[in-house]
């Protein structure tokens, strides 16, 4: 009979426990709010700063000389699309195949070594990548180019694509792989027809993450794509990119260029966000169609 009394009437301990619980709850809420503050702050600050220079023609016009009203960043939009596109062409296929190898390889020692190497590459500062590509492409060719910019972005994207795709491929139940192999499908067939479709949503998300990361790189562009005030779609010539344009405009002494830097930054953020939403929509529609999710 002493037991229930002790359990229910332990007033002091109960109060202490409840207090501890409340304090911990408060701490986690505060930490969450603090974590969100920079996000909201950055976005709202950029929006406020960008508004004066922002208009629809800002997206469609080419840069104007200092003091000339109007003007836009059409060249940088196109240049970013070209360089990021080249980057995906490099990092997408190579990254996917490497991820398949890592996820399916039975030689775990080799896989671990490659995984470590990938992590090292992911940790290399992007400006170092820029210098590297500068010396292997720009110097031998003797000129800056969109191509060299794309190659840098490809190098930056590669480890992100490999690691996210591998993680997702590992999540595909091994029973699906066994089911396919047991019918007499070869490994490569199983990978293409069963594993990739089952993992495609996560893989697309991984590629989007890589794009978001690469699209914001300014430092390596100084050595490679270089920047170009005119419209250019020449892969072999220099092009402007969004982050590089932000950099050039932001450090200029002119009031109207600095406003344009903020507007360009906002466009960059919007483009990345838009791509992410688009990818979510596509994969969502796909999974509804095939019933990959749910059920």
């Amino acid at each position: 009979m002493a037991m229930p009394a002790a359990t229910f009437a332990a007033g002091g301990r109960l109060v202490r426990r409840k207090t501890t619980s409340l304090v911990m709850l408060a701490l986690t809420v505060i930490a969450t709010v603090v974590a969100i503050i920079p996000l909201v702050w950055i976005i709202s600050y950029v929006v406020v700063q960008a508004l004066p220079a922002l208009s629809l023609t800002f997206l469609t016009q080419l840069p104007t000389p200092v003091g000339v009203p109007g003007g836009g960043i059409a060249n940088a939009l196109v240049g970013s699309a070209i360089t990021v596109g080249i980057g995906i062409l490099i990092a997408g296929p190579i990254g996917l195949l490497a991820a398949l190898f890592l996820a399916l390889s039975r030689s775990q020692r080799l896989a671990t070594a490659i995984r470590f190497g990938t992590d090292v590459v992911a940790g290399v500062p992007s400006i170092v990548m820029g210098i590297f590509v500068y010396s292997i492409i720009v110097l031998p060719q003797g000129h800056f180019s969109a191509l060299s910019g794309g190659v840098v972005l490809g190098f930056i994207m590669l480890p992100i694509v490999i690691r996210t795709a591998e993680e997702i491929l590992r999540l595909v139940p091994s029973s699906l792989r066994e089911g396919s192999l047991a019918i007499g499908a070869a490994e490569w067939r199983t990978a293409l027809a069963v594993l990739l479709p089952a993992a495609i949503n996560g893989i697309v998300t991984g590629i989007m993450l890589a794009i978001a990361r690469a699209a914001g790189e300014a430092a390596p562009m100084l050595f490679t794509a270089f920047g170009n005030p005119f419209m250019s779609t020449d892969v072999n010539g220099p092009v402007a990119t969004l982050p590089h344009t932000v950099f050039v405009y932001a450090i200029s002494p002119y009031e109207d260029w600095r406003a344009k830097a903020w507007a360009t930054a906002l466009v960059l953020m919007a483009v990345v966000l838009g791509l992410n939403v688009l990818a979510r929509l596509i994969t969502w529609a796909r999974s509804r169609q095939t019933g990959t999710a749910g059920s």
Binding site: L176, G179, A182, A186
Partner: protein, 279 residues
């Protein structure tokens, strides 16, 4: 209904390709002194048994006695396990399937498999069944016919004929397992291995699967691993009883007609197990 449905010949004539080992023609798969190791661990030791054509062979025994290992050796699914080593022979129609020269992909086409948990692909019902035939270049109207015939053989056609484009994942558990059976049948294998095919299903679905297995015996040779002794006695023609020795390696205790195993087994171990005194 399927070409491989051949009545067993009454007198065994020696086929020209018969190797030195003596095998009656009613034997579809002959396991000879098979030992399977995973690294240092011996999963099954020195197993010798015959799987007879167009009959249902049940493999029973306690957990860890190597039932699934034996089953997965018969279509080389064990190859996927790192560090696996196999010695001995598994002869199908006289050809050793463990031979290096033998193509695993070919083995698996001839020896199909149904798993413990239904594992339909995240594709439509039609594409699930068509997956195998497509690998071998079947297209168009022929493919439609193969899909329909396979679904009929798996007793699923009437339930899904109006929703072939729906996802296979949307079916019930029992339907999913029959879909997986249809998928295995679609490439017209000679043998179907079943690894506790009903253990994840409710009693009604289990009964339907068991009826289906009895039906499939006419066209295929079937080997089924089961934990459920009632199921083994209801479904199978022959039963092999496995247990493990002191070193945890599984071995074959005895194999005989199912009636004999469950009523009058030769070994004391078997009797204890089927009567529930052990395991």
């Amino acid at each position: 209904m399927i070409e491989t449905a051949v009545a067993r010949p009454p007198v065994p004539p020696a086929p020209p390709s018969t190797p030195p080992v003596e095998i009656p023609t009613t034997t579809k798969i002959a396991v000879r002194s098979l030992t399977v190791r995973y690294g240092e661990f011996t999963a099954i030791r020195d197993v010798t048994l015959d799987v007879e054509s167009n009959r249902i062979t049940a493999i029973i025994g306690p957990s860890g006695s190597g039932k699934s290992t034996l089953l997965r050796a018969m279509n080389r699914m064990n190859d996927l396990v790192p560090g696996v080593r196999m010695s001995g022979e598994i002869l199908m129609d006289g050809v050793d399937m463990l031979d290096r020269a033998v193509d695993v992909v070919d083995v698996r086409r001839r020896v199909g498999m149904v798993f413990q948990r239904p594992n339909p692909f995240p594709k439509s019902i039609y594409d699930n069944v068509a997956y195998g035939p497509r690998l071998y270049g079947v297209r168009g109207r022929t493919l439609n016919e193969v899909v329909e015939r396979s679904l009929r053989s798996a007793a699923l056609w009437d339930e899904v004929k109006d929703k072939l484009r729906r996802s296979g994942m949307a079916l019930s558990g029992g339907q999913q397992q029959r879909l997986c059976i249809a998928r295995a049948i679609a490439v017209q294998p000679e043998v179907i291995l079943m690894d506790e095919p009903a253990s994840a299903l409710d009693p009604v679905a289990t009964l339907r699967i068991e009826e289906l297995i009895r039906e499939l015996r006419r066209s295929f040779t079937i080997v089924i691993v089961t934990h459920n002794m009632q199921q083994a006695s209801r479904v199978s023609d022959r039963t092999a009883f496995f247990t493990m020795g002191g070193d945890r390696a599984g071995y074959l205790v005895e194999m005989d007609e199912t009636v004999k195993i469950f009523t009058n087994p030769a070994e004391r171990l078997t009797e204890d197990y089927v009567s529930g005194r052990f395991g």
